[in-house]
């Protein structure tokens, strides 16, 4: 059992930290205030190849594992930034990589790796389905050599910042299915050619998340853009969940470390009643507790990532990592805000921004309640509870 990073992983951590160091608090604060997209940051990461970490070398990427990818995203959040603005560029292509044809991979992956194409959007969630993905209602009907798509999607992020979107749509009516997990298919949608057929309505959220409602009306997609086989799209999506959970766990750990570092620093510097506020156990214990929980979650995250990279089953670990890390980060966020007192609410301290951002990770990409339901049912053998 070796808990140390390899020299290469350590180098990756140091280098991404250096790149993130170019984008300081004021940059992220300003982007948040203007509800802008951090284009300069994403371009910089792309040009240095960081977002192509998971793309195999033969398609122009670096062919690294989830362990290394998770270190990259952790460091972005630890620096004070937000990896959610670009993490999908890193892993959405995984569905294309695992299930796309060789022709599709050769057509898209090198351009995604080089930054020529942005693939950050994945249209899955719908207003009438939520977490029950098998009940989605968006339909794709075959018409000759094309599919025609109609429907609605909600919380589809970075559509306006992407060139490509993967889209899950129903190709067999729900009532005609024996196996309700069948009948869904994944399509590669070229957003540049979809104008007039997809109405994109940005959603105003408590965080700067670039997410949208989509109204799809008669979008035509060439049949050659069907990913893998028709009808097994739900399986393809599930395949990507473990990777996503591990990466989100790493982002939460990055957030948690940021909160703990800022809280400890402020607790040492802020003098009230003639001594640093950190000298009070009421201040220091919650920070220490949050630190311990983050370190514990980190171990599960690396266990999950290691199993994933060894191609071992890791559903339990990936889910637990996401659960523990997002909760530890939220606890750290609260400790940090409490430590800062009124200043924690002031935008210039950045705590309130990170506080808002990290709260999302307990809810998305999957609610922690559904993670508990997974563990109870699939790991502990209890009845399905929903």
């Amino acid at each position: 059992m070796d808990f140390n990073l390899t020299q290469e992983q350590q180098q990756i951590r140091e280098e991404i930290r250096r790149v993130c160091g170019e984008f300081r608090d004021a940059y992220w604060r300003d982007i948040d205030k203007k509800r802008d997209y951090p284009d300069a940051f994403v371009r910089r990461l792309t040009e240095l190849g960081w977002l192509a970490a998971l793309i195999p070398e033969e398609y122009g990427g670096s062919g690294l594992g989830i362990t290394e990818a998770s270190i990259i995203l952790e460091e972005i959040n630890r620096s004070g930034g937000s990896a959610t603005v670009c993490h999908a560029q890193m892993y959405t292509m995984g569905t294309l990589l695992r299930h796309g044809s060789e022709e599709q991979k050769r057509r898209y992956l090198p351009k995604i790796a080089g930054g020529e194409l942005r693939l950050q959007a994945f249209g899955v969630t719908e207003p009438n389905a939520g977490s029950e993905t098998t009940r989605i209602e968006t339909t794709a009907s075959r018409r000759g050599d094309r599919y025609v798509i109609h429907g609605q999607k909600i919380f589809i992020s970075r559509v306006l910042q992407s060139d490509l979107m993967l889209l899950l749509a129903r190709t067999t009516p729900y009532d005609e299915l024996k196996d309700k997990t069948q009948g869904l298919s994944v399509f590669i949608v070229d957003l540049r050619e979809a104008k007039g057929k997809i109405e994109v309505k940005p959603l105003d959220l408590m965080i700067n998340h670039h997410t949208n409602a989509l109204f799809i009306d008669g979008l035509e997609v060439p049949a050659e853009n069907l990913l893998g086989q028709e009808g097994v799209g739900f399986r393809y999506i599930i395949d990507g969940w473990n990777a996503e959970r591990i990466l989100v766990a790493a982002e939460a750990i990055g957030d948690g470390r940021w909160f703990v570092e800022r809280a400890a620093k402020y607790a040492n510097e802020r003098i009230v009643f003639g001594r640093p506020i950190g000298a009070n156990q009421g201040i220091q214990f919650p920070i220490a507790q949050a630190y311990a929980r983050i370190e514990a979650a980190d171990l599960v995250r690396f266990q999950a990532a290691t199993k994933f990279d060894r191609k071992e089953r890791c559903g339990a670990e990936a889910n637990m990592a996401k659960l523990l890390a997002s909760e530890a980060a939220w606890e750290a966020a609260n400790a940090c805000l409490t430590t800062h007192g009124g200043y924690g609410f002031a935008a210039e301290y950045d705590v309130e921004r990170k506080f808002r951002e990290t709260r999302l990770l307990t809810v998305a990409p999957v609610s922690n309640n559904l993670v508990l339901a997974y563990l109870a049912q699939h790991v502990l053998g209890m009845p399905k509870s929903y």
Binding site: E8, Q11, E15, L48, A53, E57, S62, L64
Partner: protein, 259 residues
Amino acid sequence: MNVIVCAKVIPASSVTIEIDPATKCMVRKGVPHELDPAAASALEEGLRLVEKHGGAVTVLTMGIGDATVGIRNALAMGATSAIHLFDDALAGSDTLGTAKALAAAIKKEPFDLVICASEASDSYSGVVAGQIAQLLGIVPLTFAKEIAVDGKKINIKRQSETGYDVVEAELPALVSVTSGINEPRYPQLKGIMAAKKKEIKKYTAADLGLGPDQVGASGAREKVLTVGRPPARQAGKKITDEGDGGKQIANFLAELKII
């Protein structure tokens, strides 16, 4: 063209430097290391020249085992190959011993140009580059803030107190660069991955034909007698503005010959 960049790997900037009271040398073992930012500028210049004119950049480092971190970093930035002079017999070398080792390694390679930092960011001796040039019998062009190569000619702008001098020489030559000559690139992720596969040649003092009378602590002719803290700064002069504050400041600066 073949460029050799002499690159020192030094304790990371986050490390508080400590001096071993027995040897009066900087404690290097057991602390994180990084490529000296001054060496990164030298390397950046080498990479740019090779990108323009073709050829290869070899990075040359003398140092302890931990120096491989910085060497890998240099390879990740784009250096073609690396040479690591790694031997306990080299520990404690003075500047001349260091220059002898580096020059001996350079002689083993084909080269058109050697690039060094003007001085390393940990010890600031600033003499090794000149010593290497002397030992190799090539022209040293120092304090370059700009380098241009045209065929067999090299042309630099040499930073001076008041501006710059234009200096020209025939290749092969050695150039020492100022730290502000460029903004070193960050390694690309692909570069980090490729660095793993690049060769790092290792040489001992014996491989270089150097004995204990030339390198290492025993060969050092330069001895550090004492190491101490610089004297505490004197209290500053406080000027209260009672109508003639500006004049007083001007007089004060004139006394210091600043204006």
